[in-house]
Amino acid sequence: MPNPVVTCRDVSRVYEGDGVPVHALRGVDFELEAGEWVSVAGPSGSGKSTLLHVIGGLDQPTEGTVTVDNVEVTALSEAQLSDLRLHKIGFVFQAYNLIPVLSALENVEFIMQLQGVAGGERRQRAIDALDALGLADLADRRPGEMSGGQQQRVAIARAIVTNPVLLLADEPSANLDTATTEELLDVLRRLNRERGVTILTATHDPMVMSYTTRQVNLRDGHVVAP
């Protein structure tokens, strides 16, 4: 039986807010198999984003262990976490978060430049990624010259161009209208089904949940039954 891409064991995250401890996650056990597209659902403050941040190595759990592709994230240094994020995890953010001074193509290339991928290969892979997301005609446009949906697709192209083992998408549809959200979800579904990209999405949007293969519900930091 293959190892899960993500394993969370008894993960807790407590923040110190004005001297009062805030329990964002309380003993979460969670697994994500390769090829799955799982949505972590729940109301605001339920711990969805915190779980994604902990799995993505952006935040450290107060207790418990997190493993991504057989690497124990909770045991890594800051530098090792940077390398893990660069090579194994793709991020899609709610606010797109592209580099505003780079074109769509350059934004997609940027992450490969951090990896040290050579120029020719880098350019071709970036073009292919944009093409796969229907953005070939917008390659030279900067983020400010694109719609929200187009920017989010560029962000997805940037996230998948490195062939990560895991794509983390935190509220990817939050700033998009319904039609654009549907287009975006179609793109993610295609990536998941045709390329086998493993996706973990934090959302409270029912449309997003309807696209995913499995749903994990969080409430007050606990995983609860649907």
């Binding site: 952006l58 940077s82 390398d83 953010f93 978060n97 350059e106 430049q113 951090l114 120029g119």
Partner: protein, 427 residues
């Protein structure tokens, strides 16, 4: 503790990423054009001011030294070891003529002449004034020093019994050209020395101390009257580069008798050395203040940059860029600001210095009465800034360090940035 390597593909060379950092940095500058131009303008202005100041210093120090030393002191003097501190007539060097010839042969020495000096009472009739009788080789002296050129009336030592004296001394004595004067003093052997001379020339140097006390006469006459034989009190040298006097000094010391002392102009004219040092220090202080003010503006600019782009930096950390690489990218932005500023500053510096070098700046025309003050300090009349490598490179070099350091202070905040909190920042 050694970190265990992750089973990850090797990260490529920094060069590939470095190229895109430069692109990102350069384009980021133009997101806030006014701020960039203000920061670069500040850097350029500092480079202009410091560059022009250094150009003036480079342009003035050489002529200042030359002006001060060419009157009569020279670039170096070889003396009896005790003469400088205690100028007694007995503190003389034997074999003066051969010593002058020996010194002339030293590479770097462009001229040498001997002097025999004695303090004497200069008298005409009932009037007597103390003065320094300076026995000189008229031909060499006129060729090497400018005191002969300050001739107000008469001729410069045309005969073996000529006297060439300062205008104030002449006035005090009440003498005119053709009058006879007597210099009375003690000979080297203790006898009374009397030297009868004819006033053949009167000079007016503008230096009150010289005009009031100096009396030049042919060296042979002074040596004879003061029982000096062939002895000299000093051999005065001019060298090819006065600013290298301290470097050449050991060579001269090696060629003169062991009991002779070599003094360069720094020792002979300590007030000149102190004046240059004081001017340089005040310039350095002004430059440091200016650079500090500009650096503060760069710090301010980069604080704004880091503050405004917190979410962008959070995203970069999230996708795997190391905080130090972001600091590096911001440092490149600072370097780009410097490149703009340096281009502005150097171009402006050249545009200001070149014309001033040609026309010169006569401070007497700008500040009334400053000529006399400058004459006392032996500063040249016209200041001509010099476009030297120091003027063009020193200020940009200091500003590069200042700009990078100023940008680094706020940029280091990125190292403490928590990506989750940074991603929540409003743009």
């Amino acid at each position: 503790m050694t970190e265990t390597a992750l089973p990850l593909p090797a990260t490529g060379s920094g060069t590939r990423a470095g190229a895109v950092f430069v692109v990102v940095a350069w384009r980021n500058l133009w997101r806030h054009r006014l701020r960039t131009w203000l920061a670069a303008g500040g850097v350029g202005f500092a480079i202009l001011l410091v560059g022009v100041m250094v150009a003036f210093q480079d342009g003035i120090y050489g002529p200042w030294i030359e002006n001060a030393t060419s009157l009569s002191v020279g670039h170096m003097q070889v003396q009896h070891p005790g003469y400088f501190d205690d100028p007694k007539i007995s503190h003389a060097l034997a074999g003066g003529s051969s010593l002058v010839r020996e010194i002339e042969e030293i590479p770097g020495v462009v001229g040498a002449t001997g002097r025999a000096e004695a303090f004497a009472l200069v008298s005409v009739g009932e009037r007597s004034y103390g003065g320094l009788v300076m026995g000189v080789d008229a031909e060499r002296e006129a060729a090497m020093f400018t005191l002969a050129s300050y001739l107000r009336e008469g001729e410069y030592l045309p005969r073996g019994d000529s006297a060439y004296l300062g205008s104030s001394l002449a006035t005090n004595l009440g003498v005119e050209l053709g009058d006879e004067i007597v210099a009375l003093g003690s000979g080297k052997e203790g006898g009374v020395a009397a030297l009868v001379l004819n006033v053949d020339g009167i000079f007016e140097s503008g230096r009150a101390d010289l005009d009031r006390t100096i009396l030049q006469a042919p060296v042979e006459a002074v040596q004879s009257a003061f029982e000096l034989g062939d002895s000299l009190h000093s051999v005065v040298l001019k060298i090819d580069d006065p600013e290298r006097a301290e470097v050449l000094k050991p060579t001269v010391e090696a060629r003169v008798p062991a009991d002779a002392r070599v003094l360069d102009w720094n020792e002979l004219l300590p007030e000149l050395k102190q004046g240059i040092r004081l001017d340089a220090i005040s310039g350095q202080m002004m430059a440091a203040l200016l650079i500090a003010v500009v650096a503060m503006s760069v710090v301010n600019s980069f604080i704004m940059t880091v503050f405004e782009r917190t979410r962008e930096f959070g995203m970069l950390i999230a996708i795997g860029m190391r905080p130090n690489a972001i600091v590096g990218m911001l440092t490149i932005e600072a370097a780009c600001v410097w490149v703009l500023g340096a281009a502005i500053g150097i171009a402006a510096c050249v545009a200001v210095v070149l014309p001033l070098n040609i026309v010169g700046v006569n401070m007497g025309q700008i500040v009334e009465g400053v000529d006399d003050f400058y004459a006392q300090l032996m500063v040249p009349d016209a200041l001509r800034p010099q476009l030297s490598a120091g003027a063009l490179l020193l200020a940009p070099g200091i500003m590069l360090a200042g700009t990078l350091l100023a940008a680094l202070v706020p940029a280091l905040r990125v190292r403490r940035m928590h990506p989750v909190e940074a991603l929540r920042e409003e743009e």
